[in-house]
């Protein structure tokens, strides 16, 4: 069984490139500012090509596939031969059309701005 399905039977994630690899949840920091949210997901070993960020309705899915292990003789292993996946249900105040994603040194940074009308505004009084 290679696909994960949600309630309506629509697949949320495509099948893993490496079926032997299990999927774990990457560590994530979330900061909320007046303008929106900043989400940082830690996925070492994942290059831009291995990254998949998708949005369906209000559900954000992040999938990161790590580079394959070196084909040399293994002497000592501590890292897990896993890929990363995490799903978030987004605050409806987020303007999904303006979500921005950057990937640097294994950290995916997503900027999720809130819609204008939610931000506190001053109202001028005539």
């Amino acid at each position: 069984m290679n696909t994960v399905t949600q309630n309506e039977g629509k697949p949320v994630s495509s099948q893993p490139a490496n079926p032997e690899r299990s999927l774990v949840s990457p560590n994530v920091n979330i900061i909320e500012t007046t303008d929106g949210y900043i989400l940082e997901a830690e996925m070492p070993g994942v290059a831009r090509e291995g990254l998949e960020v998708s949005l369906e309705d209000n559900v954000l899915t992040i999938v990161g596939r790590r580079q394959p292990d070196p084909s040399a003789k293994l002497l000592h292993r501590e890292s897990n031969p896993v890929d990363y996946r995490r799903v978030f249900e987004l605050d409806p105040a987020i303007e999904t059309g303006k979500i921005n994603a950057q990937m640097e040194q294994g950290i995916l940074t997503l900027t999720l701005p809130k819609t204008e009308k939610i931000k506190p505004r001053r109202i001028a009084v005539n």
Binding site: V4, I30, D35, V59, Q67, A72, K73, L75, H76, E89
Partner: protein, 162 residues
């Protein structure tokens, strides 16, 4: 204020528990400490004593035909934050992940990533050519390639017969 709702992916009946993963790493290291390892990959905090606290980046070691490959998972650093040193057959990787500057208007919602110093030492199983060591840092993984010293490479010894 609306809250972002969290969903842990729950598939194949197994919910990934990252805290359990960290605990397993710690238990593995307890075993390494207790039974020893011909290839000693030790955690050390700044005081040089064995410690399981703080950031414990995963280190993998591979042997290629002519070199040793040491890979450490260190996401989110700049290469200036990492230092690599070789001393007496021990390779030490250390550095610090600094806390990002506090933003005036920010409230931290959820924090799972490690911050702080890390310090790992790998005791090398054979002699290496210190002049030819190379290191690269990509996708948050530091890869150190240590070529074997000439006398550490396997050699054919010719036999003379009178």
């Amino acid at each position: 204020m609306t809250l972002t709702r969290w969903q842990r992916p729950d598939f194949w009946g197994l919910a990934p528990l990252r805290r359990v993963t960290n605990l397993r790493d710690e238990v593995d290291n307890l075993f390494n400490l207790a039974f020893g390892h011909f290839l000693d990959v030790r955690p050390e905090n700044g005081h040089g004593s064995q410690s399981l606290e703080g950031w414990f980046p995963a280190v993998d070691v591979y042997e290629e035909k002519d070199s040793l490959l040491v890979k450490a998972e260190l996401p989110g650093l700049k290469k200036e934050d990492i230092s690599i040193s070789l001393d007496n057959g021990n390779l030490t990787l250390s550095g610090e992940r600094k806390q990002e500057e506090k933003r005036q208007d920010a409230g931290v919602y959820h924090s799972e990533r490690w911050v702080g110093r890390f310090h790992r030492t790998v005791s090398l199983p054979f002699r290496v050519d210190a002049e030819k060591i190379k290191a690269s840092y990509n996708e948050g993984v530091l890869t150190v390639t240590l070529p074997k010293a000439e006398d550490a490479k396997p050699k054919q010894i010719p036999i003379s017969v009178k």
